[in-house]
């Protein structure tokens, strides 16, 4: 599919690479976002990467959509450019029944044991396609086929902060308490979003995540350390 420029009024344009969830498309979206930021296109306020497109927010008093299309088209040619440096995060995850309200039901629905669900979820290195829905909410994929299932028929009004959830081909972590329709298969004690930090979201689109199982006792220790400000989520730089 060719790149399409779509109009989103007079303060944003959408650069669309396709219409499906796909790592190749995501990489192109992230590359373009990094290029736009690096070049410093005049009038661009910010860019928001999503699964298959980049939204470019602009100030119509500084530039216009026709100019932006030209400038962004020129950046599209540079497909060899790196997406920038991403990180691999090792996220502690407690899958014990007290911390995983839906895991037994997920296992049963998918014809798996709870241990198999945990094994499948922890064996996958997830790619962060985008952050949205609420501040800091990472959409991570792709789930192994054996864990793919539709959203809950009955969404919860309150999902606790730190809940690790799955739905369709994605997994996510709820950064704050919010409504939610995904299946809750674990909880992490780490903090994903802190508005007091200059970079408020722990993860960036393009980062990778692996979940590492912890016991309920370890969960409590990490949470206490997180609250005390002495816990750092293990991570390493990935060159892409």
């Amino acid at each position: 599919m060719d790149v399409r420029f779509l109009s989103a009024g007079d303060t944003a344009i959408v650069v669309e690479f396709g219409d499906r969830i796909d790592r190749t498309l995501s990489d192109r979206v992230l590359r373009l976002g990094a290029r736009v930021r690096a070049v410093g296109v005049p009038g661009v306020v910010e860019t928001v990467p999503t699964y298959r497109s980049l939204m470019v927010h602009y100030d119509p008093l500084v530039t216009d959509s026709a100019t932006l299309r030209e400038q962004i088209s020129a950046l599209l040619d540079d497909n060899a450019a790196s997406t920038g440096v991403g990180r691999l995060w090792r996220v502690p995850a407690c899958y014990e029944p007290t911390h995983a309200p839906d895991i037994a039901e997920v296992a049963e629905t998918k014809g798996l044991t709870v241990d198999e669900v945990i094994r499948l979820h922890t064996a996958t290195q997830f790619h962060i396609y985008m952050i949205g829905f609420v501040p800091g909410y990472p959409y991570m994929g792709d789930l192994p086929e054996q864990l793919v299932l539709p959203r809950r028929a009955d969404p919860r009004i309150r999902v606790p902060a730190g809940s690790i959830a799955i739905a369709s081909t994605m997994t996510a972590i709820y950064p704050l308490e919010s409504p939610g329709g995904w299946h809750l298969i674990g909880t992490t004690p780490i903090r994903l979003f802190d508005a007091a930090q200059p970079r408020p979201a722990l993860f960036s689109p393009g980062d990778k995540v692996r979940f590492e199982p912890v016991t309920a006792a370890q969960f409590d220790d990490i949470r206490a350390a997180t609250q005390a400000g002495t816990y750092e989520v293990p991570s390493e730089v990935l060159a892409s």
Binding site: G9, V45, P49, F193, A195
Partner: protein
């Protein structure tokens, strides 16, 4: 002694807003900011503030506040009602005019008239620490403003300046035309191809009503349903203030100041930035018609609107006590229009 405004009555949903939180949408943080960017800036101009200073956004019904400072200067903009001042010298000051109050006086904005929102600016602004570069209140995220929330009774709004000097008060040359009947202009897309031709035609010809299920996140419309051409789920993509998403019900939802940053419903069109204030002012029950323009027409409309705002600000005039009465009368009669005129 700290200078402040004490909240006697909070109003329905009064929040501190500046022009919004930019640069964190890729972290899922909504921009927030005012429903009516023009009126927030006019209110600031009337009290001599930089135009992007934070002010109070009043929704449907305003607050009652007590002055706990030596003197403050305030102005109301975005509606055609008035500030009622209580104390030793009770008086009524129409919107579009600044006024100085002294310690112990109270100010009250009970009614906003036909407007859904209005702005109360204070000379010098509020002494509030920005969160991610902005003091705009984003209530769902508990961020910005006063403790991340709408005002509550007994809250204290700290002020940067507690002694507004005496000087002539400023007023608009006439009452604002708040464009309550003007069409709301849109640019079609990004997913107008998810609707049938009939669906797009219905959208541009139908009459919609702002429903009571509307808030700063989005105005839900009621009216003729829009026909989808290929389902109502898309692979989630970006959202901008003004995005009009259409879920399975076929009823458009215009996402506004507190819009989430991404979403999975097809978006038939986007309200142009010049008309976001026009829509933001419409109360539940008000009618809305949408009219399509091109992106370059939308950009031109925004530039024209900015130029006009600058002209209005340059034309602010000193008001005498007598003139204040005249202006109040004109407001009641609604005789003057064109101050924030709608260009179509």
């Amino acid at each position: 002694m700290t200078s402040a405004l004490k909240v006697i009555q909070p109003g329905i949903h009064t929040t501190v807003q500046d022009l919004g939180r930019k640069g964190f949408q890729d972290a899922g943080v909504p921009v927030a900011g005012p429903l009516d960017r023009l009126s927030l800036r006019l209110a600031n101009a009337l009290v001599g503030n930089p135009l992007d200073t934070a002010a109070l956004e009043l929704v449907l019904q305003g607050p009652a506040l007590e002055v706990q400072a030596d003197a403050v200067r305030v102005a109301l903009a975005g509606c055609n009602t008035a500030i009622e001042i209580g104390g030793d010298q009770p008086r009524t000051i129409p919107a579009g005019q600044s006024v100085r109050l002294v310690r112990g006086e109270t100010l009250r904005v009970t009614q906003l008239g036909d407007a859904a929102c209005a702005y109360l600016a204070v000379e010098g602004g509020f002494d509030i620490v920005p969160v991610l570069g902005s003091v705009a209140t984003y209530v769902r995220g508990g961020m910005g403003g006063l403790n991340g929330a709408a005002l509550k009774r007994d809250d204290t709004l700290p002020l940067r300046h507690g002694n507004a000097p005496e000087r002539p008060e400023l007023g608009l040359p006439g009452p604002a035309d708040l464009a309550f009947d003007a069409p709301v202009r849109v640019v079609l897309g990004p997913q107008d191809d998810y609707f049938t031709e009939a669906g797009v035609a219905t959208f541009l010809s139908g009459e919609y009503t702002v429903t009571p299920q509307s808030d700063r996140m989005g105005f839900r419309m009621d009216g003729p349903p829009l026909e989808h051409a290929k389902g109502y789920n898309i692979v989630s993509d970006g959202i901008v203030s003004g995005s009009i998403q259409v879920p399975g019900s076929g009823m458009p939802i215009v996402l506004l100041a507190d819009a989430q940053t991404t979403g999975g419903y097809p978006k038939i069109a986007t309200v142009i930035s010049a008309d976001l204030p026009v829509l933001g002012r419409r109360r539940p029950g008000r009618k809305v018609r949408f009219a399509a323009v091109t992106a370059s027409e939308a950009e031109q409309a925004r530039r024209d609107q900015e130029a006009e705002l600058q002209r209005i600000i340059a034309a602010l005039c000193e008001v005498s006590a007598e003139a204040a009465i005249d202006v109040a009368a004109l407001y009641r009669e609604n005789l003057i229009s064109g101050v924030i005129s709608h260009r179509s």
